[in-house]
Symmetry: C2
Subunit: 363 residues, 2 copies
C-alpha cells in the first residue's frame, strides 16, 4: 500500500500476530524504544498479553476484529510463519505488514521455498514434489534412500515428516503424514546444523549476526553456540546467502536461514534447509550476547529505523528450557552470569519451550 | 506480617506503586523472570501501564482499590519514596511490602534520614532542625554560611531547597520554602557527586554495584559514569557504607546512597547526602553495562531470590534525555553501540526525564 517506507516514531504502536514467547520478546524489545504494542492471538492467556500495551483475543479469520486491530496499530508483524496469507493480505489493505504476504506465502510451503532458494543458485538438498504414491516412487528412484518425506505445509519442530530408509514401505510413509501434498528431500550427511539470523529494511539495508551452531534433540532446538565451529569463509558465505535470500524476498524484518554444514573433500560448505520469516530460537543468544538483540533489530527494521550493531559480546551459549527443565529456575538464578528467560507459560507440557538460559564466556 | 521471607515462584505477580519510568523498567525486568506485574498509579496513561500485565488507576488513599490491588499481587514494591506511609502500612496488612514502611518513613524526612545516618557513625554534612526563624538563626550560627535550607519532606531534583549565603536574609529564605519544618545543612565543598546502588534481601544477602560518578545539571542528573574517578579504598568504603545502611534499615530491594566525594589533605573520602529507597537514576547504566540490571536485581531481592552478579561490562556512560533532548532519537539509533531507552511519555516538558542512552566502551 505504501510506495516509500513508512517510518514509525516513538509513541506509535506495533501490532503483533501471535501471542507466544517470540511476540512477548518483541514487545519487551519495543518498549525501551518508546513504542507501544498490540498483540493479536486466539489463545486465552497468551504469554505476550502480559507485556503488551493492548491485546485482542480473536481468531485469524475474524475480519471485524482484524480490522479494528489494523486501525489501532501503525505496522503489523507476526511471530510465526503459519499466519494465513489472506489474514496478512487483509491487514495490508489498512496498514503496512512486515514481513509481507510474499515471503509468508513462499515460506509456508516447503516446495515453494526450496524451489525459490534453488532458483537463486543456492544449494539445497535434492527435492521433488509428491502428490501421490506414483510420484513418491519416482522421486525415491531419483533421489535415493534414505530420504525425508515432508508435508509441504504446517510442519515445525519435526512434525509432519518421516524418514524413508532402505526397505521402508513408501506408501505407508505417505499415509503416515496424511497423504498431504508433500516434498521428498534427499538426506544430507551433514556435520552440524547452523543458522544465520539476519535483518533487512525496506530500503535494502542488511545486517547478519555471525553464524550460529545449533544442536537439536528430539527435533527441537536444544542449544545454540556462537561462534560456530566454521571457517571464516563459511561464515561469510552463509551471511551472503542470507543477504541474497532477503533481497530476493524483498524482506523487511528479522529472518533466519537454517543450513546444514557439510564437509566435502575436507572443505566446509553449507546447504540451505529452511527459511523462517520471523525472529528465531537460534537468535535468542543475541538478547544477552550481542550489542543489539534480534528482537530490537526486528523492531528497528519494521519501524523503518537504522539497524543496530550485531557484534557479539563473548563466547555465547543459549540453552532452551523444555518442559519441566524450567523447574530448575532456582538453580539457574544462583548461577553467576546465567541469564534466565522464562516465557510466562502456565503449564509445562513435555516438549514445550518454557524458557531459555544464556551464558556468556570471555574469549 | 511474615516471619520467614516469602519466596515468589514464576507466575506470581509483583505489585508496583507508581507508574513512571522506574516502574516501567521494573516491569520490563520482571517479565523475563516469568513474573507478572500489576501497576497502581493515579495518573491516566502512566508509562508503566503500557508494559504491565494489569494496571489500576486510582489514588493512594483509595482503600477499596488498594485492597483489591493487594489481593491480586504476591508482593508490593514502589518506584518513588513519597508513597504515603499509611498506604504502605495498609497494604502490608495483606501482602509483603518491600522495602517496608520503616525505610520509607525514614527516607521521607530529611531530618530523620540524616539523624539515622549520623547515628550509624557515618559522616553527613553538619545539620540542624529548623521549625522557626529563631531556630534557623541559631543553626546558621552553629553551621555557618553558605548553608542549604531544605524542607524535611517532599523534595526532589532540587525542589524545596534554597542556599543561604553570606548577607542573605535567612527569614526570606525560610519563607521561600513555605516555612515548612526544615533542615539546615552545612555546605559541603565536594569534588564530585557519587552514588552506590545496592541490593539487600530479607535474609541479609547484600550486593553493591561499583561506585558511580554523577554529574548534575540544573539539579537533575545529567550523566553517570562508571568506574568513578575514586580510589579503590573509597570504592570499598562507599559500598560498606551502603551495606551498613541497608542492614540498619532491614532493607529489602534495591536502594541508592548518594554521596559527596571530598578531598581532605589530599585524601579522598565520602559524605552521605541522601538515601533513595528504590531503584535509582544513577543505576540506569546497569541495564546495558552490568551482568544484572538494577531492575532485575530489585525483582530478585523482593522475590526472595538470589541476587545476580554485579560485574560491569566495560567503561559505561549513561546520559539522561531531558525534555526535547529525546527528539534526538533518530541520531541515537544511528550511533553504533548506543543503547536507547525511551520512557513512553507523551509530552516532552522542559526538565522532564524522557529517556536515557547508555554507551559502553572497552577498557
Amino acid at each position: 500500500m505504501n510506495a516509500s517506507p513508512k517510518i514509525l516514531a516513538p509513541g506509535d504502536t506495533i501490532g503483533i500476530l501471535g501471542g507466544g514467547q517470540l511476540a512477548r520478546m518483541i514487545a519487551l524489545a519495543a518498549a525501551p524504544l518508546g513504542l507501544k504494542t498490540h498483540v493479536y492471538a486466539p489463545e486465552e492467556g497468551s504469554p505476550a498479553f502480559d507485556v503488551a500495551t493492548a491485546h485482542t483475543q480473536a481468531t485469524y479469520d475474524d475480519l471485524g476484529a482484524l480490522e479494528r486491530f489494523a486501525r489501532s496499530v501503525d505496522v503489523v508483524t507476526y511471530e510465526f510463519e503459519n499466519v494465513p496469507v489472506y489474514t496478512a493480505e487483509f491487514l495490508a489493505r489498512h496498514v503496512p505488514v512486515h514481513p509481507g504476504a510474499h515471503p509468508l506465502g513462499i515460506t509456508q510451503d516447503r516446495l515453494d521455498e526450496k524451489t525459490f532458494v534453488s532458483r537463486l543458485g543456492i544449494e539445497t538438498a535434492p527435492f521433488a514434489a509428491v502428490h501421490d504414491e506414483a510420484e513418491l516412487e519416482a522421486a525415491l528412484d531419483e533421489i535415493g534412500r534414505p530420504a525425508v518425506l515432508k508435508t509441504r505445509r504446517f510442519g515445525y519442530d519435526g512434525k509432519g515428516q518421516v524418514i524413508i530408509r532402505e526397505g521402508d514401505d513408501a506408501a505407508a510413509a505417505f499415509k503416515a503424514i496424511g497423504r498431504h501434498p508433500s516434498i521428498l528431500e534427499g538426506f544430507v550427511p551433514f556435520e552440524r546444523e547452523v543458522s544465520v539470523v539476519a535483518a533487512r529494511t525496506e530500503d535494502g539495508r542488511f545486517k547478519a549476526y555471525e553464524v550460529t551452531e545449533n544442536e537439536h534433540r528430539h527435533h527441537i532446538l536444544y542449544r545454540s553456540t556462537v561462534p560456530a565451529d566454521v571457517t571464516p569463509v563459511v561464515d561469510a558465505v552463509a551471511r551472503e546467502i542470507a543477504r541474497r535470500i532477503g533481497e530476493a524476498l524483498g524482506y523487511v524484518g528479522v529472518f533466519a536461514v537454517e543450513m546444514f554444514l557439510v564437509v566435502v573433500d575436507g572443505t566446509q560448505g553449507v546447504i540451505v534447509n529452511e527459511i523462517a520469516p520471523r525472529v528465531h530460537n537460534s537468535g535468542h543468544w543475541t538478547l544477552d550476547g550481542a550489542v543489539t538483540s534480534q528482537f530490537e533489530q526486528h523492531v528497528r527494521a519494521i519501524a523503518g529505523w537504522p539497524l543496530g550493531a550485531v557484534e557479539r559480546l563473548g563466547h555465547v551459549e543459549m540453552t532452551n528450557l523444555i518442559g519441566d527443565e524450567a523447574d530448575d529456575w532456582q538453580a539457574l538464578l544462583e548461577e553467576p552470569g546465567a541469564h534466565l528467560h522464562l516465557y510466562g507459560k502456565a503449564e509445562a507440557r513435555p516438549g514445550r519451550k518454557m524458557g531459555h538460559v544464556t551464558r556468556i564466556f570471555e574469549e
